[in-house]
């Protein structure tokens, strides 16, 4: 089963302040452990929301409304994510607890969310077959 560890933004990450070398080292070590255990699928850091855009559809069926960043509530913004594949929810929680405090100054927050497997989502067998084909296509295009 796959889980996503979502690191929430902080006032520092939104201001573009880089984490300390100590934290970078700790994070790198943690990532190495994820790799060694064979559980890491993907990880990325997001740029601050200053250059972000939100498209909302406030009227169902109506025209979209666009809003430029930066967005205000740091704790509702994502700063990074790590996607892992583990055997159980407990194992995912263990890994999330082992991740270094992503901020170190009291604003660090990690949200752990389980990712849907294709089969959970699609009851329609035709849709399921299409989705499986799509995933295969994406995988093959980006196999370097």
């Amino acid at each position: 089963m796959r889980f996503m560890m979502i690191v929430k933004a902080t006032t520092d990450s939104e201001a573009g302040v880089m984490p300390s070398q100590e934290l970078i080292d700790a994070m790198q070590k943690y990532n190495e452990e994820l790799v060694k255990a064979g559980v890491l699928l993907a990880a990325d850091g997001l740029q601050p929301s200053t250059n972000a855009i939100r498209i909302s559809y406030p009227e169902p069926g109506g025209k979209p409304k666009m809003m430029d960043g930066p967005f205000t509530e740091a704790k509702e913004i994502i700063a990074g994510y790590t996607l892992i594949e583990v055997k159980s929810r407990e194992e995912a929680i263990e890994w999330a607890l082992r991740m270094p405090d992503p901020h170190g100054f009291g604003q660090g927050e990690i949200e752990l969310r389980q990712v849907f497997e294709v089969e959970d989502l699609m009851e329609n067998t035709e849709t399921l077959a299409k989705e499986t084909a799509l995933r295969k296509q994406v995988h093959e295009q980006h196999k370097s």
Binding site: L46, A52, I78, E111, F116, V138
Partner: protein, 143 residues
């Protein structure tokens, strides 16, 4: 440049109410058109936050506080994301505006650029080898 298109959760999704088939088909067609031009790098849907947890670190240090779900839907929870690779920010915006939205619900999509330092994640096998190599290097340096 890589962008993440984040689809925000709604009360419907958090309650586990699925989209209608019409929307599912439109979304599938959209993703196919992204994949056809080689723009789609990744795409996942997250389970409702009722199965999620949050780990919060306090300024006083010490043990983190663990919050168990579900989280309020107005706290901008993520329902789905796509990672796309495009030439310009404008291209990312164009793709985001093409994404279908369910006709009967209020929706929101956020576009965020990804950091380029971890540009492409190599195959897990190669990463494992690299990690091993790093270990050997550390060991050798200590000698």
């Amino acid at each position: 440049m890589r962008f993440m298109l984040i689809v925000k959760a709604t009360g419907f999704l958090e309650a586990g109410i699925n989209y209608n088939q019409e929307y599912v088909d439109a979304m599938m067609a959209y993703k196919k058109s992204l994949a056809r031009v080689g723009t789609l790098l990744a795409n996942e849907e997250l389970q409702p936050s009722s199965s999620g947890i949050r780990i919060c670190y306090s300024p006083q240090g010490g043990e983190p506080e663990i919050q168990v779900d579900p989280f309020p839907a107005d706290q901008e929870l993520i329902a789905e994301y796509m990672v796309i690779d495009v030439r310009t920010e404008n291209d990312a915006l164009k793709w985001a505006l093409r994404m279908p939205v369910p006709a009967d619900r209020v929706s929101m999509i956020e576009i965020r650029r990804l950091g380029e330092n971890s540009d492409t994640l190599p195959e897990p096998g190669i990463q494992a080898l690299e990690a091993d190599l790093q270990d050997h290097l550390h060991m050798l340096r200590r000698l």
